[in-house]
Symmetry: C2
Subunit: 312 residues, 2 copies
């Protein structure tokens, strides 16, 4: 657990925002005026917790910030709302607006200072798809751009493409691109030839193009990365960028119906978000990169505002 606190004595705690994923948890202790009193993160993700482990883990994370008396709303999103999580928050079904506080599942706690609400994820029956957490990032984006009509791309372990219109998620699709990259780069024969801290823009661009024009060659192009290392001394940075480009190119080819002719926002940060942006731009798609680090907090804040009966 790490964190930073400021002004806790002067600015009373109004609510707590929590993004609880499979492998990590983030929490923000918030003042009524929107100030972040403290930001915390921990590694006790949903995947390692039994049902009765969530409350102690939450208290470990933010218990020191709770007032001695009174009740603090705790508004949560993410995998803690899954069947194996703290309490199931049943999915909303597309088409729907990102589910707000009125659809949240309320959780009973032993510590009466906590008033925990878990926001639901979103489901889509055909093609079968689910999200938990990204709907709150989408809510955060829409809080700042309520009239947006287009496509949101949220790169990550499981990259989401969501078609947004009239404030609703009309449809969406998840690609396992990030998880496949992690497995191939850390655990496959390809790991020998990569330099995960390196990068090569030209190799990335070429690979995106190769995968988009011949997506079926994916598994053979992967092995060629290994062979090119053995036969032609392909440098590690170029191999890393090419692996990323093959995966993102394959995804862009599959996601073409989602982004073609659409206004696209890539919500994210760091190298991976830049890679999606540049790959889409190279295809002539009108695309903007939106800093994603605080998008989930904006979405939780929108839910808090509705809960309070106020406005964001």
């Amino acid at each position: 657990m790490t964190g930073a606190a400021s002004g806790a004595d002067r600015n009373p705690v109004d609510w707590i925002a929590v993004d609880w994923g499979t492998s990590a948890v983030r929490a923000w202790v918030m003042a009524a005026d929107g100030t972040v009193i403290a930001a915390r993160h921990g590694d006790r993700g949903m995947g390692g917790l039994s049902r009765d482990g969530f409350e102690p883990a939450l208290l470990d994370l933010v218990g020191d910030a709770l007032p001695a008396h009174g009740t603090v709303p705790v508004i949560c999103c993410g995998m803690l709302g899954s069947r194996q999580g703290w309490a199931e928050a049943p999915y909303a079904a597309v088409p729907c607006a990102p589910p707000g506080i009125e659809r949240a599942t309320r959780v009973a706690t032993l510590d009466r200072r906590l008033d925990v609400h878990i926001l639901p994820g979103i489901r889509q029956d055909r093609p079968a798809d689910v999200m938990r957490g990204e709907e709150t990032q989408i809510a955060g984006y829409l809080a700042g751009d309520p009239g947006f009509d287009g496509v949101l791309c949220l790169p990550g372990t499981h990259t989401k493409w969501a078609h947004i219109s009239a404030g609703e998620v009309v449809s969406f699709r998840t690609f396992m691109t990030g998880e496949i990259f992690a497995l191939l780069s850390q655990s496959s024969v390809l790991r020998h030839g990569l330099d995960l801290d390196g990068w090569d823009d030209a190799a990335f661009e070429t690979a995106v193009g190769d995968a988009m024009s011949r997506p079926a060659g994916f598994a053979a192009e992967l092995f060629s990365l290994r062979a090119a290392g053995l036969l032609h001394d392909l440098p590690g940075p170029a191999a890393t960028a090419r692996l990323s480009g093959l995966l993102i190119g394959l995804e862009l080819a599959g996601a073409r119906p989602h982004w073609l002719g659409q206004d696209v926002r890539v919500i994210g940060s760091g190298r991976i978000a830049q890679a999606y942006r540049s790959a889409l731009a190279a295809q002539g798609a009108p695309v903007k990169l939106v800093e994603g680090d605080d998008m989930v907090l904006k979405g939780l804040a929108a839910a808090r505002a509705a809960f309070a009966g106020g406005t964001p």
Copy 2:
């Protein structure tokens, strides 16, 4: 190490065949008449051995079968011939016949009863590709069918497609299908919904067709497997077969130039070889399944026969 021996006293050892891969090693103690005196396998693959660890590992495996006097030829193929192996056996380049004993690398040993020869693998410069071990399986197949003109498919961790004509490997391509299946089924989020002992023919066939017609959808179809488990209770055997079908379908789409209009032999055994055979047959490809367990031994025996100046 496990093994079986018979008749060692009556039938003198003529030579030893060794297939030394990254993670395992197999050895056969052979009589001059082709009888297998003993078959051994061990788990000390090339990946876990330093250069001077190979001779002791070989002696652990077959030392008891060596005669007290005299020298025994040991003919080897596989990853022990790589740069990180026992001794590098430089690749032959396509187009070429599977390299025989005359191209083998001879290794000096401390134990003078051993006369070790390592057969080279095959390389292809463009597209970059390599094989080590499969060329000896190909030699084994050609020993029994020297006039074969068509395509050999060798399913495995890294599935090979080799175009054979006039006794030569004209070109080949490797697909990382088996390794991707292993990573996804054991280490990805999909593992929760699979039953690796189960199978479902109809789910496999549908998935092959889906991937062949829409290869770019691969990473999204994968996540749909997870979502269909959560939303629609997709049974584990169907999920396993569909995962396999998506991967093999993607490969067949990418390998189409290799098998379309060709006479295809799938060399292998078990469920995976059956899956390739049935997927190819469903595409109307003329395909036969060839039992693959002893193909590498047949290839090593062909090299031994040439070494002895005899005929297979």
